[in-house]
Subunit: 217 residues, 4 copies
């Protein structure tokens, strides 16, 4: 055991994943703080709750979107086995945009008819996606990943991660015509990812996952 | 060690459990934010604290109920050894309903005499239970579980998980007659689970746990 | 690897520790939410900050006290290798009292001259200590602990854990004479634990730790 | 397996790291709570958002600074393999100063023109740095570290950790001349650390990391 003690710690990404999971978990839970108990007479509680509906719906929207990014983070880091200083910081920028979502969500709930608020929300999502593409490409190009991924495999994962920011980019424009349509587009990619792909264990030929080493498991 | 580096990460559910534990921990702790320090004269502090009693009691109620769901999650995932995309999302819906509980709790504390608020709380609990049954049955039917569970064992766990939503379903109706009785019914299943079963290590023939592989430990 | 997959998960207390660490971490951090930025003119900022002093001091007090309980939890669970349903719930009650501390702290900061608020804080601490003694004795008496602890060793740990509630019990009475003296007594045991004991690795003959199996490490 | 059960738990720093990661994650996420949704007419939303800018910029500043301390903590603990009671408490004091940052940040956002608020923020950062130097030196001098670090290696890490408090100490004075310049100086060291150093895996000859045992990995 004494030999073990002098070795450096295994699994160079476990604390990166631990702090990321912590940030995701807190971000998910903080979303509910935007739903305030109405100050009203008990007899008018139903009306007050109906007025809360935008806050409840945006809570659900953002919960699904944060889960979507957590899922992507989880799948990507299943293929990353080493970290370096740049990866820590690229991941930190991703978390920065995730942590900003409770604010964007509260903005959206309060001003769901204002294109500006809808676009801030969409822009926040786009930054979450772009930053996840950034740390994926950085890790893949700097040999921090598991196994021997080919250039086309690396590009395919990046391409899949790019669907969401492209759809949300379109939604930024649509928000000026119809805010509800833009909001539904923000939800489109997560729903598509949940529904598509075979009913297989994580890592087996689904939409998100990386092909080879994980598939073997 | 170089061989280890190229292997994918072990234990496909550990990040799912980590983010779930994080969400449970934050949800448990956020409950206390509903108990506000009274703005009062120090001489009238006792009266002010007595008026806080509904908030303190619902805090304790929800702390026990969230712990109940954490315990169930813990026991169920002791028998799940693999995750896939659907399991991640079924688990996410479970967490969505758990995260909503601090709001339902604050509603209940503020409107504990209003059947509508009492029923929202109960409906939230029912959704927590149904979503836990969903991820259990999904995992068990898709070979994500440990060992060789028989159909009757899988059904038995689901049946035990169904007691709480059935009792709470009854409470939804009772709330229109007596809100206190409904609230006590919400607490009934967790208390029953704590009290019943042999004084044995987790996994040994208790109320919640799964029978075979764990029992051997 | 397929053999590994069907085995139940190792380390029956790791999720109990994970969720506890999460609760401790959130409780430690929520304490700062009681210190509000003063609404004042920039030229009167110093005066406003001086008025914040009770909130800052109780923040530090509670941070040290929560850390004290986390340290105790950490040391105790170093000797517990299995969990069962009762241990999960005894631990949950401990966490319930820890989670209540941010409220007690805010009460103390606002009403630091009122014996009632000082006693609520002290009573909260006493409940934290008693619940930690409860899960320790339960684990030790039900073979959930590591190694072969003698009855006297088990009792010694419980005795050491009892110093804090006894000192705080005295402080409950002293609060009616002098609230500052009572608050200082709440801090006495944590400070004593930090200062006493040899400068040794955790587990070596210190005040808190368990003697045998750990010492060998 | 029975033999494994009676052994004490491995990795004496994993819970210390877990609770620290939790505190860092919550502190990072709480920062966003200082950005409040403006109460305004939707047509004046852009003006209201521009008034939010100091809060958004200080949010980003503090997110980067807390990440900086998390990175430092991560790198330092990669070289620490054992903990003792004093290390737990030195680490706790570090976390105390990290947890205080959301308050200092909110102060800075509200009073970014007031030297007093700018200096409180800088002093908070200095305490974060000094406490990290303290636990590093304590661990290195008490054989809690991995491998055989020479005195000059230990001193070099401490020296690198000292750059930030020295720069921030200068900023404390500059704040009385120009608050913006002081705030930019607070950001200087983190930016310098991100930009400098080779594009290498963590542990390889970078600015922060410890030289020998990690490099081998």
């Amino acid at each position: 055991m004494s030999k073990k003690i002098v070795e450096p710690k295994e699994n160079a990404t476990n604390r990166l994943e631990a702090v990321s999971d912590g940030v995701f978990a807190v971000a998910l839970t903080l979303l509910v703080l935007d739903i305030h108990v109405p100050e009203t007479d008990p007899t008018k509680l139903l009306d007050a709750l109906i007025r809360l509906l935008p806050h409840i719906l945006t809570f659900i929207l953002s919960f699904l979107i944060v889960t979507f990014y957590w899922t992507a983070h989880h799948v990507i880091f299943n293929s990353i086995h080493r970290s370096d200083r740049y990866l820590l910081w690229l991941n930190a920028f991703h978390l920065l945009f995730v942590v900003f979502l409770p604010f964007s969500t509260a903005m959206l709930a309060r001003f769901h008819d204002a294109p500006l608020a809808v676009d801030i929300y969409g822009f926040n999502i786009i930054l979450c996606s772009l930053s996840s593409i950034a740390f994926w490409l950085y890790a893949a190009r700097n040999s921090l990943t598991t196994g021997d991924l080919s250039k086309s495999e690396i590009a395919m994962v990046a391409l899949r991660l790019s669907v969401n920011p492209i759809v949300c980019g379109l939604a930024l424009g649509i928000a000026f015509l119809n805010t509800t349509a833009a909001i539904l587009l923000y939800l489109a990619t997560p729903v598509w990812y949940v529904l598509t792909g075979p009913n297989a264990a994580a890592g087996d030929s689904g939409t998100w996952q990386l092909p080879r080493p994980w598939r073997r498991r």
